[in-house]
Amino acid sequence: MGSYNERIKDFDWSISEKELGYKPGDIINIGWYCSDRICNMGKADKLGLIWEGQGGVEKRYTYNDIRLATNAIGAFLRGLGIKPEDRVCLFMDKIPELYLGFLGILKTGAIAQPLFSAFGDESLFIRLENAQTRAIITQKKHAPKVRKILDKMPWVEFLIIVDQDPGKPLQQREIAMNLEQLPKMEEFEIYPTYAESPSVLHYTSGTTGQPKGVKHVHYSLIAQYLTSKWVLDLQDDDIYWCTADPGWVTGTSYGIIGAFSNGVTQCVLDAGFSAEAWYRFIEKNKITMWYSAPTAIRSLMKAGNEIIKKFDLSSLRHLASVGEPLNSEAVIWSEKVFGKPFLDTYWQTETGAIMISNYPGMKIKPGSMGKPFPGITATVIDPENFEPFKESGKIGLIALKPGWPSMMRMYWNNEETYRKKFKNGWYLPGDRSSIDNEGYFWFVGRDDDVINTGGHLVSPFEVESALLEHPAVAESAVVAKPDFVNMEVVKAFVTLKPGFIASKDLDLEIMNFVRKKLSPLAMPQEIEFVDSLPKTRSGKIMRRILHAKEWGEEIGDTSTLEND
């Protein structure tokens, strides 16, 4: 990006528009920008995707392969009768069909709704019901979870299975879509979406209520393209690895849109985590740009430095991190072992693209979130009056001036909650921070009870609701517990119904119950059986007190606490 100070002067998003050849009022379709446009630029034979699955199986796709495959998927969906703005869910591991399916959906004008493949049936149902999803694209290994709830979802017309065994019968509403057997589609009429046409629906959790569907539009590309170029420093000859799963926003904004719209070669590893496998993957593919998450970085730290010596990681040129605050120890460690620091980036599902970040060439203060991206007005405001602090160093709410291209346009069917995210003309992401006298932001924590575990937000309300469905549970309260690798993990306090006795087996049974219903992320890593929960006199459970105990903090005002 060159000099940060120069870039923030007179910045205008038209810089990105011009580079992409877009003029206000033009058609803008992310699917086209990520495949056809790159081919039109003379890069049709350039590798766009190198994918490695279990057991080292590898598949490679040039940009022309991506163009043809996304055309084919688009034609398949259109053939089923999928129409613009229909919601099409992607419920898959990180297989090529996920990446190609995402762009194929966008080419039809439909809305891509990626959902994390580890979601249990209840998590899945809530999100599919809210979106009234018309089709689900999945793998045979995940189909049973959908089948379990299919009867409750008459609005789902198609369950599309991408790896159905030939000859194996399909069940009601199921249809097979084998990418390799789809006819190559040189020509496909891409639906003419415009700046405000909806593109992606990602679900995120809040403190109360059900998960919210964050609606993004095709114009988000303008921010995702430029932040990829300036923050991730994507260059034409880069081999890029974004470790995020496209079930979450990083995996789509930077694991699909940012990478492909910049025309780089990106690598995907669809296998569980192990330090050795990750280092081997970097060495094998000569990764130059690596965008990962603090949880992964701390897991690598835990695996030790000796293992690193077994691999040639000299290809690494630039490293960045997202998902939760990157602690200074991790920044210093990466500089020591990889010769370059991981640069922290800050944003969230609703912002669609990086908002505050450390930049190549800018002075890094380990532990800091960095400075606002050019064109982003960010500050810290007083939670009492929602006015920006005039002095540096004060802790308040992070506030962003709305209007950047990738800002969410709405929470799906939930305008009331959407409006609550704005105060005094600012959008509030729900995080607390301070700004030092050089303009660097320093993350403090969430401003609500949402649990950030391994970079994923978990709603205590959702976990508490699931716990109450277990026959032994009378009441529950769920809070974050500190954890070295994941920053926070879910901890549940539980009172039991008469006739049930706390035991190790019951503890495990409840853990597994939540894991299967919601997801492994939401499973309490610890359950504490208690006789009663702290409540206000009006009967509301005071999570704050339990949270403070877990974190060794002052309990604070207990004047409203009910006497035991």
Partner: protein, 81 residues
């Protein structure tokens, strides 16, 4: 008495496998994406309850939990003590 490796294999299949994939004693569980790092906590808890042992967190690594065979080796270290 049922062998430990069969007990662990049965538990893994019952709890973590959604479809009819074939899981063997040496099938990669963690690196194979069958059991994720969060779910590993519940698998560890099962082993501790079943065999009345305590596995230190620093020994419960993705590598040590990667196959049924490796899990059995790890558990045996603590059962014998």
């Amino acid at each position: 008495m049922e062998e430990m490796k069969d007990v662990v294999l049965k538990y893994v299949i019952a709890e973590y496998v959604e479809d009819d994939s074939e899981i063997k004693y040496d099938t990669p569980l963690i690196s194979g994406g069958i059991v994720d790092s969060f779910s590993m906590v519940s698998l560890k808890r099962f082993l501790e309850n079943k065999y009345n042992i305590s596995i230190p967190d620093d020994k419960a690594t993705p590598e040590a939990f990667d196959t049924v065979n490796k899990i059995v080796t790890l558990v045996n270290e603590y059962v014998k003590k």
